[in-house]
Subunit: 214 residues, 2 copies
DNA sequence: TACAAAACCAAGCGCTCGGTATGTTTCGTT
DNA sequence: AACGAAACATACCGAGCGCTTGGTTTTGTA
Protein backbone atom coordinates (compact mmCIF):
# COMPACT_ATOMS: atom_id res chain seq x y z
CA UNK A 1 0.00 0.00 0.00
CA UNK A 2 1.66 3.14 -1.23
CA UNK A 3 1.13 6.49 0.38
CA UNK A 4 -0.94 8.93 -1.61
CA UNK A 5 1.35 11.48 -3.20
CA UNK A 6 -1.14 13.71 -4.91
CA UNK A 7 -4.47 15.32 -4.37
CA UNK A 8 -5.99 13.60 -7.36
CA UNK A 9 -4.63 10.12 -6.67
CA UNK A 10 -7.61 8.53 -5.08
CA UNK A 11 -9.85 8.34 -8.06
CA UNK A 12 -7.33 6.25 -9.95
CA UNK A 13 -7.26 3.45 -7.44
CA UNK A 14 -8.20 0.40 -9.39
CA UNK A 15 -8.55 2.17 -12.70
CA UNK A 16 -5.13 2.52 -14.27
CA UNK A 17 -1.45 2.75 -13.58
CA UNK A 18 0.49 5.73 -14.81
CA UNK A 19 4.12 6.35 -15.50
CA UNK A 20 5.89 8.96 -13.46
CA UNK A 21 6.23 11.51 -16.20
CA UNK A 22 2.66 11.17 -17.37
CA UNK A 23 1.31 11.48 -13.86
CA UNK A 24 3.24 14.65 -13.07
CA UNK A 25 1.85 16.44 -16.08
CA UNK A 26 -1.57 14.99 -15.42
CA UNK A 27 -1.55 16.43 -11.91
CA UNK A 28 -0.35 19.82 -13.10
CA UNK A 29 -3.18 20.03 -15.61
CA UNK A 30 -5.74 19.21 -12.93
CA UNK A 31 -4.19 21.63 -10.47
CA UNK A 32 -4.09 24.53 -12.92
CA UNK A 33 -7.56 23.74 -14.23
CA UNK A 34 -8.86 23.76 -10.66
CA UNK A 35 -7.32 27.16 -10.04
CA UNK A 36 -8.70 28.60 -13.28
CA UNK A 37 -12.18 27.14 -12.81
CA UNK A 38 -12.18 28.53 -9.29
CA UNK A 39 -11.09 32.00 -10.40
CA UNK A 40 -13.13 32.47 -13.55
CA UNK A 41 -15.70 29.70 -13.61
CA UNK A 42 -15.84 26.59 -15.76
CA UNK A 43 -17.55 28.13 -18.78
CA UNK A 44 -15.29 31.15 -18.88
CA UNK A 45 -12.13 29.08 -18.66
CA UNK A 46 -10.72 27.92 -21.99
CA UNK A 47 -8.67 24.83 -22.74
CA UNK A 48 -6.05 27.21 -24.11
CA UNK A 49 -5.72 28.86 -20.69
CA UNK A 50 -5.35 25.51 -18.99
CA UNK A 51 -2.71 24.42 -21.50
CA UNK A 52 -0.78 27.66 -21.18
CA UNK A 53 -0.61 27.46 -17.39
CA UNK A 54 0.49 23.85 -17.70
CA UNK A 55 3.21 24.68 -20.19
CA UNK A 56 1.88 22.78 -23.19
CA UNK A 57 -0.26 23.58 -26.23
CA UNK A 58 -4.01 23.30 -26.18
CA UNK A 59 -4.13 20.34 -28.54
CA UNK A 60 -1.85 18.34 -26.28
CA UNK A 61 -4.39 18.54 -23.46
CA UNK A 62 -6.50 15.99 -25.26
CA UNK A 63 -3.77 13.42 -25.02
CA UNK A 64 -4.48 13.33 -21.28
CA UNK A 65 -8.21 14.03 -21.19
CA UNK A 66 -10.84 13.34 -23.76
CA UNK A 67 -12.95 16.43 -23.05
CA UNK A 68 -12.85 19.61 -21.01
CA UNK A 69 -15.81 18.34 -19.03
CA UNK A 70 -13.87 15.24 -17.99
CA UNK A 71 -11.36 17.49 -16.26
CA UNK A 72 -14.20 19.12 -14.31
CA UNK A 73 -15.62 15.73 -13.38
CA UNK A 74 -12.31 14.42 -12.04
CA UNK A 75 -11.84 17.54 -9.93
CA UNK A 76 -15.30 17.33 -8.39
CA UNK A 77 -15.15 13.58 -7.89
CA UNK A 78 -11.81 13.86 -6.13
CA UNK A 79 -12.97 16.62 -3.82
CA UNK A 80 -16.19 14.90 -2.84
CA UNK A 81 -14.56 11.50 -2.38
CA UNK A 82 -11.81 12.81 -0.15
CA UNK A 83 -14.22 14.93 1.89
CA UNK A 84 -16.57 11.98 2.26
CA UNK A 85 -13.70 9.82 3.52
CA UNK A 86 -12.60 12.41 6.06
CA UNK A 87 -16.12 12.76 7.44
CA UNK A 88 -16.51 9.01 7.78
CA UNK A 89 -13.22 8.83 9.61
CA UNK A 90 -14.08 11.65 12.00
CA UNK A 91 -17.35 9.93 12.91
CA UNK A 92 -15.69 6.57 13.42
CA UNK A 93 -13.08 8.08 15.71
CA UNK A 94 -15.44 10.11 17.89
CA UNK A 95 -16.13 8.49 21.26
CA UNK A 96 -19.62 9.97 21.47
CA UNK A 97 -22.08 12.10 19.58
CA UNK A 98 -20.67 15.34 20.86
CA UNK A 99 -17.10 14.56 19.82
CA UNK A 100 -18.29 13.21 16.48
CA UNK A 101 -20.08 16.45 15.71
CA UNK A 102 -17.20 18.58 16.91
CA UNK A 103 -14.73 16.58 14.80
CA UNK A 104 -16.92 16.64 11.74
CA UNK A 105 -17.38 20.41 11.78
CA UNK A 106 -13.66 20.80 12.29
CA UNK A 107 -12.99 18.48 9.33
CA UNK A 108 -15.33 20.44 7.08
CA UNK A 109 -13.57 23.66 7.96
CA UNK A 110 -10.17 22.04 7.37
CA UNK A 111 -11.23 20.67 4.02
CA UNK A 112 -12.23 24.08 2.78
CA UNK A 113 -9.37 26.13 4.18
CA UNK A 114 -6.23 24.12 4.77
CA UNK A 115 -5.25 22.99 1.30
CA UNK A 116 -5.11 25.46 -1.57
CA UNK A 117 -6.17 22.98 -4.25
CA UNK A 118 -8.90 21.51 -2.10
CA UNK A 119 -10.16 24.96 -1.30
CA UNK A 120 -10.35 25.85 -4.97
CA UNK A 121 -11.99 22.51 -5.75
CA UNK A 122 -14.79 23.32 -3.37
CA UNK A 123 -15.36 26.68 -5.00
CA UNK A 124 -15.75 24.88 -8.31
CA UNK A 125 -17.94 22.22 -6.75
CA UNK A 126 -20.35 24.78 -5.39
CA UNK A 127 -20.65 26.73 -8.60
CA UNK A 128 -20.03 24.53 -11.61
CA UNK A 129 -21.39 21.08 -10.81
CA UNK A 130 -24.29 21.83 -13.12
CA UNK A 131 -21.96 21.70 -16.12
CA UNK A 132 -21.35 17.99 -15.68
CA UNK A 133 -22.89 15.68 -18.24
CA UNK A 134 -25.85 13.65 -17.05
CA UNK A 135 -23.88 10.49 -16.31
CA UNK A 136 -21.11 12.35 -14.56
CA UNK A 137 -23.53 14.47 -12.59
CA UNK A 138 -25.38 11.40 -11.45
CA UNK A 139 -22.17 9.79 -10.21
CA UNK A 140 -20.99 12.96 -8.52
CA UNK A 141 -24.34 13.64 -6.87
CA UNK A 142 -24.39 10.14 -5.45
CA UNK A 143 -21.04 10.63 -3.77
CA UNK A 144 -21.97 14.09 -2.53
CA UNK A 145 -25.43 13.23 -1.20
CA UNK A 146 -24.62 9.86 0.30
CA UNK A 147 -21.08 10.45 1.43
CA UNK A 148 -21.35 13.99 2.74
CA UNK A 149 -24.90 15.23 3.26
CA UNK A 150 -26.40 11.97 4.48
CA UNK A 151 -23.46 11.25 6.79
CA UNK A 152 -23.88 14.66 8.38
CA UNK A 153 -27.64 14.26 8.55
CA UNK A 154 -27.50 10.86 10.26
CA UNK A 155 -25.10 12.27 12.80
CA UNK A 156 -27.37 15.23 13.55
CA UNK A 157 -30.45 13.03 13.87
CA UNK A 158 -28.58 11.07 16.53
CA UNK A 159 -27.45 14.32 18.18
CA UNK A 160 -31.08 15.44 18.32
CA UNK A 161 -32.14 12.16 19.95
CA UNK A 162 -29.53 12.67 22.62
CA UNK A 163 -30.63 16.30 23.05
CA UNK A 164 -27.19 17.61 22.12
CA UNK A 165 -28.84 19.92 19.60
CA UNK A 166 -32.19 21.59 20.00
CA UNK A 167 -33.37 22.39 16.48
CA UNK A 168 -34.40 20.45 13.38
CA UNK A 169 -31.56 18.11 12.32
CA UNK A 170 -32.26 18.50 8.60
CA UNK A 171 -32.08 22.26 8.80
CA UNK A 172 -28.94 21.94 10.89
CA UNK A 173 -27.39 19.66 8.28
CA UNK A 174 -27.57 22.37 5.67
CA UNK A 175 -26.86 25.15 8.10
CA UNK A 176 -23.56 23.50 8.95
CA UNK A 177 -22.62 22.48 5.41
CA UNK A 178 -23.57 25.84 3.89
CA UNK A 179 -21.73 27.80 6.54
CA UNK A 180 -18.56 25.73 6.36
CA UNK A 181 -18.41 25.34 2.59
CA UNK A 182 -19.14 28.99 1.89
CA UNK A 183 -16.91 30.28 4.66
CA UNK A 184 -14.31 30.28 1.91
CA UNK A 185 -15.91 33.54 0.75
CA UNK A 186 -15.57 35.49 3.96
CA UNK A 187 -13.15 33.76 6.31
CA UNK A 188 -9.52 34.71 5.87
CA UNK A 189 -6.70 32.86 7.61
CA UNK A 190 -4.54 35.04 9.84
CA UNK A 191 -7.47 37.13 10.99
CA UNK A 192 -9.19 37.53 14.32
CA UNK A 193 -10.11 33.84 14.54
CA UNK A 194 -8.10 30.79 13.56
CA UNK A 195 -9.57 27.66 12.00
CA UNK A 196 -10.12 25.95 15.36
CA UNK A 197 -11.94 28.93 16.76
CA UNK A 198 -14.12 29.23 13.68
CA UNK A 199 -15.08 25.55 13.87
CA UNK A 200 -15.74 25.90 17.56
CA UNK A 201 -18.00 28.92 17.09
CA UNK A 202 -20.13 26.98 14.62
CA UNK A 203 -20.19 24.00 16.97
CA UNK A 204 -21.22 26.15 19.93
CA UNK A 205 -23.98 27.78 17.90
CA UNK A 206 -25.72 24.55 17.06
CA UNK A 207 -25.43 22.72 20.41
CA UNK A 208 -27.44 23.32 23.55
CA UNK A 209 -26.12 25.81 26.06
CA UNK A 210 -25.81 23.30 28.88
CA UNK A 211 -24.13 20.75 26.62
CA UNK A 212 -21.68 23.30 25.28
CA UNK A 213 -20.22 24.09 28.65
CA UNK A 214 -20.45 20.56 29.99
CA UNK B 1 -45.64 58.29 -5.42
CA UNK B 2 -46.57 55.47 -7.74
CA UNK B 3 -46.68 51.90 -6.60
CA UNK B 4 -43.92 49.72 -7.93
CA UNK B 5 -45.30 47.54 -10.67
CA UNK B 6 -42.25 45.48 -11.53
CA UNK B 7 -39.42 43.71 -9.88
CA UNK B 8 -36.85 45.75 -11.73
CA UNK B 9 -38.47 49.13 -11.20
CA UNK B 10 -36.46 50.42 -8.34
CA UNK B 11 -33.21 51.00 -10.09
CA UNK B 12 -34.78 53.38 -12.54
CA UNK B 13 -35.97 55.79 -9.95
CA UNK B 14 -34.43 59.06 -10.92
CA UNK B 15 -32.71 57.76 -14.01
CA UNK B 16 -35.16 57.70 -16.87
CA UNK B 17 -38.80 57.49 -17.76
CA UNK B 18 -39.98 54.74 -20.03
CA UNK B 19 -42.99 54.31 -22.22
CA UNK B 20 -45.33 51.45 -21.46
CA UNK B 21 -44.36 49.33 -24.40
CA UNK B 22 -40.69 49.81 -23.95
CA UNK B 23 -40.88 48.99 -20.29
CA UNK B 24 -42.87 45.80 -20.77
CA UNK B 25 -40.32 44.38 -23.17
CA UNK B 26 -37.53 45.62 -20.97
CA UNK B 27 -38.95 43.71 -18.02
CA UNK B 28 -39.49 40.56 -20.04
CA UNK B 29 -35.87 40.58 -21.17
CA UNK B 30 -34.66 40.95 -17.62
CA UNK B 31 -37.00 38.27 -16.35
CA UNK B 32 -36.01 35.75 -19.00
CA UNK B 33 -32.33 36.59 -18.65
CA UNK B 34 -32.61 36.04 -14.92
CA UNK B 35 -34.18 32.63 -15.45
CA UNK B 36 -31.55 31.62 -18.00
CA UNK B 37 -28.60 32.89 -15.95
CA UNK B 38 -30.01 31.04 -12.98
CA UNK B 39 -30.46 27.79 -14.88
CA UNK B 40 -27.29 27.67 -16.96
CA UNK B 41 -25.00 30.34 -15.60
CA UNK B 42 -24.07 33.71 -17.05
CA UNK B 43 -21.24 32.55 -19.30
CA UNK B 44 -23.18 29.63 -20.72
CA UNK B 45 -26.20 31.77 -21.53
CA UNK B 46 -26.17 33.41 -24.97
CA UNK B 47 -27.82 36.63 -26.04
CA UNK B 48 -29.60 34.56 -28.68
CA UNK B 49 -31.23 32.46 -25.96
CA UNK B 50 -32.36 35.55 -24.10
CA UNK B 51 -33.77 37.05 -27.29
CA UNK B 52 -35.56 33.86 -28.24
CA UNK B 53 -37.28 33.54 -24.87
CA UNK B 54 -38.26 37.19 -25.09
CA UNK B 55 -39.69 36.79 -28.58
CA UNK B 56 -37.32 39.08 -30.46
CA UNK B 57 -34.13 38.64 -32.47
CA UNK B 58 -30.74 38.79 -30.83
CA UNK B 59 -29.74 42.05 -32.47
CA UNK B 60 -32.80 43.78 -31.05
CA UNK B 61 -31.61 43.10 -27.53
CA UNK B 62 -29.01 45.80 -27.96
CA UNK B 63 -31.64 48.39 -28.53
CA UNK B 64 -32.52 47.99 -24.85
CA UNK B 65 -29.14 47.13 -23.35
CA UNK B 66 -25.70 48.09 -24.50
CA UNK B 67 -24.01 44.85 -23.43
CA UNK B 68 -24.86 41.42 -22.07
CA UNK B 69 -23.00 42.30 -18.89
CA UNK B 70 -25.26 45.32 -18.34
CA UNK B 71 -28.19 42.92 -18.11
CA UNK B 72 -26.39 40.97 -15.41
CA UNK B 73 -25.56 44.14 -13.54
CA UNK B 74 -29.15 45.38 -13.50
CA UNK B 75 -30.37 42.00 -12.21
CA UNK B 76 -27.84 41.91 -9.38
CA UNK B 77 -28.30 45.56 -8.47
CA UNK B 78 -32.07 45.17 -8.29
CA UNK B 79 -31.88 42.07 -6.12
CA UNK B 80 -29.41 43.56 -3.67
CA UNK B 81 -31.18 46.92 -3.49
CA UNK B 82 -34.57 45.40 -2.76
CA UNK B 83 -33.16 42.97 -0.23
CA UNK B 84 -31.27 45.76 1.46
CA UNK B 85 -34.46 47.81 1.71
CA UNK B 86 -36.43 44.95 3.18
CA UNK B 87 -33.80 44.33 5.83
CA UNK B 88 -33.68 47.97 6.79
CA UNK B 89 -37.45 48.02 7.11
CA UNK B 90 -37.56 44.88 9.24
CA UNK B 91 -35.00 46.35 11.63
CA UNK B 92 -36.83 49.69 11.86
CA UNK B 93 -40.10 47.96 12.64
CA UNK B 94 -38.77 45.59 15.32
CA UNK B 95 -39.58 46.74 18.83
CA UNK B 96 -36.48 45.12 20.27
CA UNK B 97 -33.38 43.21 19.30
CA UNK B 98 -35.10 39.87 19.43
CA UNK B 99 -37.94 40.87 17.13
CA UNK B 100 -35.53 42.62 14.81
CA UNK B 101 -33.48 39.46 14.41
CA UNK B 102 -36.54 37.28 14.04
CA UNK B 103 -37.99 39.61 11.38
CA UNK B 104 -34.72 39.90 9.51
CA UNK B 105 -34.22 36.15 9.24
CA UNK B 106 -37.81 35.80 8.11
CA UNK B 107 -37.27 38.51 5.49
CA UNK B 108 -34.15 36.81 4.15
CA UNK B 109 -36.02 33.55 3.80
CA UNK B 110 -38.92 35.33 2.09
CA UNK B 111 -36.63 37.10 -0.31
CA UNK B 112 -35.10 33.85 -1.48
CA UNK B 113 -38.21 31.72 -1.67
CA UNK B 114 -41.36 33.73 -2.15
CA UNK B 115 -40.84 35.33 -5.53
CA UNK B 116 -39.71 33.28 -8.49
CA UNK B 117 -37.73 36.06 -10.14
CA UNK B 118 -36.15 37.13 -6.89
CA UNK B 119 -35.25 33.58 -6.11
CA UNK B 120 -33.52 33.17 -9.46
CA UNK B 121 -31.80 36.54 -9.04
CA UNK B 122 -30.21 35.34 -5.86
CA UNK B 123 -28.91 32.21 -7.54
CA UNK B 124 -27.27 34.41 -10.12
CA UNK B 125 -25.99 36.77 -7.47
CA UNK B 126 -24.27 33.99 -5.60
CA UNK B 127 -22.61 32.47 -8.62
CA UNK B 128 -22.00 35.06 -11.31
CA UNK B 129 -21.21 38.34 -9.57
CA UNK B 130 -17.60 37.83 -10.56
CA UNK B 131 -18.47 38.42 -14.20
CA UNK B 132 -19.31 42.06 -13.55
CA UNK B 133 -16.92 44.64 -14.92
CA UNK B 134 -14.78 46.41 -12.37
CA UNK B 135 -16.97 49.49 -12.08
CA UNK B 136 -20.17 47.50 -11.89
CA UNK B 137 -18.71 45.05 -9.40
CA UNK B 138 -17.58 47.89 -7.20
CA UNK B 139 -21.05 49.43 -7.18
CA UNK B 140 -22.73 46.09 -6.57
CA UNK B 141 -20.35 45.09 -3.79
CA UNK B 142 -20.99 48.37 -2.03
CA UNK B 143 -24.73 47.77 -1.95
CA UNK B 144 -24.30 44.15 -0.93
CA UNK B 145 -21.73 44.72 1.81
CA UNK B 146 -23.17 47.88 3.28
CA UNK B 147 -26.86 47.25 2.77
CA UNK B 148 -27.05 43.57 3.59
CA UNK B 149 -24.00 42.18 5.36
CA UNK B 150 -23.23 45.20 7.49
CA UNK B 151 -26.86 45.69 8.47
CA UNK B 152 -27.06 42.10 9.61
CA UNK B 153 -23.72 42.38 11.36
CA UNK B 154 -24.65 45.51 13.31
CA UNK B 155 -27.84 43.84 14.41
CA UNK B 156 -26.00 40.75 15.63
CA UNK B 157 -23.41 42.80 17.48
CA UNK B 158 -26.25 44.44 19.37
CA UNK B 159 -27.86 41.03 19.96
CA UNK B 160 -24.59 39.78 21.42
CA UNK B 161 -24.38 42.78 23.76
CA UNK B 162 -27.84 42.00 25.05
CA UNK B 163 -26.91 38.31 25.37
CA UNK B 164 -29.63 37.25 22.96
CA UNK B 165 -27.03 35.26 21.06
CA UNK B 166 -24.09 33.47 22.59
CA UNK B 167 -21.53 33.10 19.81
CA UNK B 168 -19.38 35.39 17.69
CA UNK B 169 -21.60 37.94 15.87
CA UNK B 170 -19.43 38.04 12.76
CA UNK B 171 -19.54 34.28 12.37
CA UNK B 172 -23.29 34.41 12.99
CA UNK B 173 -23.68 37.06 10.30
CA UNK B 174 -22.36 34.73 7.65
CA UNK B 175 -23.93 31.66 9.20
CA UNK B 176 -27.34 33.28 8.81
CA UNK B 177 -26.76 34.78 5.39
CA UNK B 178 -25.15 31.64 3.95
CA UNK B 179 -27.86 29.39 5.32
CA UNK B 180 -30.75 31.55 4.13
CA UNK B 181 -29.32 32.45 0.73
CA UNK B 182 -28.27 28.91 -0.09
CA UNK B 183 -31.41 27.33 1.31
CA UNK B 184 -32.65 27.75 -2.24
CA UNK B 185 -30.61 24.65 -3.08
CA UNK B 186 -32.19 22.31 -0.57
CA UNK B 187 -35.43 23.78 0.76
CA UNK B 188 -38.53 23.02 -1.24
CA UNK B 189 -41.86 24.68 -0.58
CA UNK B 190 -44.66 22.28 0.26
CA UNK B 191 -42.40 19.96 2.21
CA UNK B 192 -42.20 19.09 5.86
CA UNK B 193 -41.58 22.68 6.94
CA UNK B 194 -43.08 25.90 5.62
CA UNK B 195 -41.19 29.17 5.24
CA UNK B 196 -42.12 30.40 8.72
CA UNK B 197 -40.97 27.22 10.34
CA UNK B 198 -37.71 27.26 8.42
CA UNK B 199 -37.01 30.84 9.46
CA UNK B 200 -37.94 29.98 13.03
CA UNK B 201 -35.59 26.99 13.14
CA UNK B 202 -32.69 29.17 12.05
CA UNK B 203 -33.70 31.82 14.58
CA UNK B 204 -33.91 29.26 17.39
CA UNK B 205 -30.53 27.84 16.47
CA UNK B 206 -28.68 31.09 16.88
CA UNK B 207 -30.38 32.45 20.01
CA UNK B 208 -29.83 31.39 23.59
CA UNK B 209 -32.01 28.63 24.99
CA UNK B 210 -33.49 30.76 27.76
CA UNK B 211 -34.16 33.63 25.37
CA UNK B 212 -35.75 31.36 22.80
CA UNK B 213 -38.43 30.14 25.14
CA UNK B 214 -38.85 33.46 26.91
C1' DT C 1 -53.15 61.41 -41.63
C1' DA C 2 -48.58 62.88 -41.60
C1' DC C 3 -44.24 62.32 -39.39
C1' DA C 4 -40.39 61.59 -36.13
C1' DA C 5 -38.85 58.45 -32.88
C1' DA C 6 -38.66 54.03 -31.08
C1' DA C 7 -38.53 49.13 -31.84
C1' DC C 8 -37.40 45.64 -34.47
C1' DC C 9 -35.38 42.34 -38.22
C1' DA C 10 -32.04 40.20 -41.45
C1' DA C 11 -27.57 39.56 -42.25
C1' DG C 12 -23.21 39.05 -41.03
C1' DC C 13 -18.46 40.66 -39.10
C1' DG C 14 -14.47 39.45 -36.51
C1' DC C 15 -13.19 36.50 -33.26
C1' DT C 16 -12.85 32.55 -30.04
C1' DC C 17 -14.43 28.26 -28.73
C1' DG C 18 -13.71 22.91 -27.95
C1' DG C 19 -11.91 19.45 -30.40
C1' DT C 20 -9.23 16.88 -34.35
C1' DA C 21 -5.65 15.33 -37.71
C1' DT C 22 -1.14 14.65 -38.65
C1' DG C 23 3.48 14.87 -38.05
C1' DT C 24 7.62 15.30 -34.73
C1' DT C 25 10.22 14.69 -30.46
C1' DT C 26 11.17 12.33 -26.13
C1' DC C 27 11.87 8.31 -23.43
C1' DG C 28 12.19 3.63 -21.43
C1' DT C 29 13.46 -0.85 -22.91
C1' DT C 30 16.33 -4.03 -25.09
C1' DA D 1 22.18 1.98 -31.12
C1' DA D 2 17.49 0.82 -32.44
C1' DC D 3 12.83 0.62 -31.91
C1' DG D 4 7.90 1.33 -30.36
C1' DA D 5 5.06 3.84 -27.55
C1' DA D 6 3.96 7.88 -25.14
C1' DA D 7 4.02 12.89 -25.18
C1' DC D 8 3.96 16.70 -27.43
C1' DA D 9 3.57 20.71 -31.36
C1' DT D 10 1.39 22.60 -35.39
C1' DA D 11 -2.26 23.71 -37.94
C1' DC D 12 -6.73 23.71 -38.60
C1' DC D 13 -12.11 22.83 -38.59
C1' DG D 14 -16.97 23.89 -37.96
C1' DA D 15 -19.73 26.09 -34.81
C1' DG D 16 -21.03 29.58 -32.03
C1' DC D 17 -20.04 33.84 -29.63
C1' DG D 18 -21.18 39.11 -28.58
C1' DC D 19 -22.19 42.73 -31.05
C1' DT D 20 -22.89 45.97 -35.34
C1' DT D 21 -24.98 47.65 -39.42
C1' DG D 22 -28.51 49.25 -42.49
C1' DG D 23 -32.95 49.06 -43.62
C1' DT D 24 -38.04 48.24 -42.26
C1' DT D 25 -42.11 48.30 -39.32
C1' DT D 26 -44.64 50.00 -35.37
C1' DT D 27 -45.96 53.49 -32.20
C1' DG D 28 -47.22 57.80 -29.90
C1' DT D 29 -48.38 62.52 -30.98
C1' DA D 30 -50.47 66.38 -33.18
Amino acid sequence: MEKSTSFFDKIFIGTQAMTKHNKDRYDIILREATALFSENGYSSTTVRQIAERTGIKSGSLFHHFSTKEEILFIILKSASLITSGKIKKSIEQGINCKEQLRNTIRVLIEVVHEDEVFSASWSVLNRDARHLTNDHRKEFTKIYNEGIIKALQDLLIECKKQRLVKTDPLVLTHLISDTTFFSIRWFKKGGRLDLDQLANQIFLTVVNNDEATA
